[in-house]
Symmetry: C2
Subunit: 317 residues, 2 copies
């Protein structure tokens, strides 16, 4: 049996961590990334391995990528427009990067007879959920963000391919992931605001938004265990934490670690931006059936992330 | 107040009926259709009206269509790849015709400050529902067809635009619509099979698929009443019938009307094609809040459709 895995977005935060993780499990990997937001540095270790091939390509260019899928057993499709807050500024970007790219991946799989795909979806597909923690089969949600909406469209497309062409899929709905190689999101934002000359830290929203997070090592482990455990044709699985924290708690921990005494200024609105979900907490009962549970507490994951940034301030540029 | 409505897919079955309906209500209408499946004949009456302008254009060509949205009050977006069964033969078609076109419409609305949209979605977004009749907020479904999956993606995109840009939307999840100008679907298929020389009628599936239908006049009335009644930013509304019938019942009625005594041959599988839903019955409680109820029984709608085809066999070509 071939054990070759193709990973899209392989130079990103989650991608490069999964490259290292699956290399450690002796898989051969072909990684694709156009380095628009991914960092080649994150692949420093992987590039030393004979089992890793890197392709600097744009997934929108179908004819240039389709042959990479030959003899691949499993595709891990992570590439996406990951900026969840700027949807309204360029609504076409989520459509192209999240939906059309996914369509290209699925067509390439079909042409090359690849029968397994892992997809990184998001808890944002639940919109503003009405059930907490939110299980995979909660009430049919209404979308509130371009990011969530394009991810839901991609989930749906993958499911249709699975149903029609006997492709097995594992669709993971992630909460925000933290840990080494984290390059964007609220921790980077607060880190930058603390470094700046301003005397105050302006927070998006009232700081009471409740969010759940997961450490990248727990996330990789969850994907690996799910691949072994769930054998349906279409598998949709939340990856989250039994805990959640508020934006305020997170910021306080970051300030402590950075020895900052700046004053926080909160807004008087519950959403930090258009499409922000004031409460994200996913039900992880299904995932736990695999024997998985999160090993790292959320505030420890915040700490690990801040320490990574301290040692790698180049990512802020 | 401007009362100009823009209707995409205006030469199609539902589109041309809505053109006539809204002309009768004294609206001005600009209709767009590339006549790939729409029929110019269906617009014969409308074209006589000074209040109707027809544009033969492809909605994928953004620069050619965007100016049509100037001074429009409401967009009724019906244009779609309506062949629900051939998804697996050309998976990109649903993506282009249903999703990228919808994205173009929304961008054109944004550029021209149009603040209202009606969208024709489908009960297929419920995949294989687990709750009957199926309400709008049933359990988060898994997609089984390319058609449903691209419509769900379009719904999601429209909701994200609504949330971000203050656009009001009415997303209607239709069961199959019947009546005058019906050009494709099971009645046309059976009609053709009865006309052919074969001695038998081959049915897709075991004939026990339960499906609900609505007559186009009830459908138009439902849209009109919903536009007046539902005032939320995002309105998602089923349009269906309190009744359902089986494929077998429908075929028997068609045979009777066509005086056919051909034998029916059923398959031993519950789904007629990949992505077929063996049971479609939508909950219409929400719609009924508007005072609407279906006036035409399903078998009467079947009869009306067969009579239309009898008088318009040119549509079979």
């Amino acid at each position: 049996m071939s054990k070759k895995i193709l990973i899209t977005g392989c130079a990103g935060f989650i991608g490069s961590n999964l490259v290292d993780f699956f290399l450690s499990k002796k898989y051969s990997i072909i990684g694709i990334d156009n380095l628009s937001t991914g960092k080649i540095k994150f692949l420093n270790d992987a590039l030393k391995s004979k089992k890793f091939i890197f392709k600097n390509e744009d997934l929108l260019k179908y004819s240039r990528i389709k042959n990479f899928f030959s003899n691949v057993e499993l595709v891990i499709h992570l590439s996406a427009n990951a900026d969840v807050r700027l949807g309204p500024e360029h609504p076409k970007k989520d459509l192209e990067q999240n939906l059309i790219v996914t369509s290209n991946i699925l067509e390439a799989m079909r042409e090359n007879n690849v029968k397994k795909i892992v997809f990184s979806s998001t808890g944002s597909v639940y919109g503003e959920a009405t059930e907490f923690p939110t299980p995979e089969n909660t009430f049919f949600p209404i979308q509130t963000s371009f990011y969530g909406s394009s991810k839901l469209g991609a989930e749906a497309l993958i499911s249709a391919y699975s149903h029609a062409f006997g492709i097995k899929c594992w669709i993971f709905r992630f909460v925000s992931v933290l840990g080494p190689r984290y390059t964007h999101g609220h921790i980077v934002d607060f880190y930058k605001k603390i470094l700046k000359k301003n005397k105050v830290i302006n927070v998006l929203g009232d700081g009471n938004q409740k969010k759940s997070y997961i450490h990248i090592s727990d996330c990789a482990d969850a994907i690996y265990k799910s691949l072994k455990y769930f054998k349906d044709s279409i598998n949709i699985i939340n990856i989250g934490h039994n805990q959640f924290i508020t934006v305020k708690q997170s910021l306080n921990r970051i300030k402590l670690l950075m020895k900052s005494e700046k004053k926080e200024i909160y807004q008087k609105k519950i959403r930090g931006w258009v499409g922000d979900n004031p409460y994200i907490h996913l039900d992880i009962k299904k995932l736990k059936r695999t024997g998985w549970k999160p090993k790292i507490k959320i505030l420890e994951a915040v700490e690990d992330t801040v320490n990574f940034i301290k040692n790698n301030e180049w990512i802020l540029k």
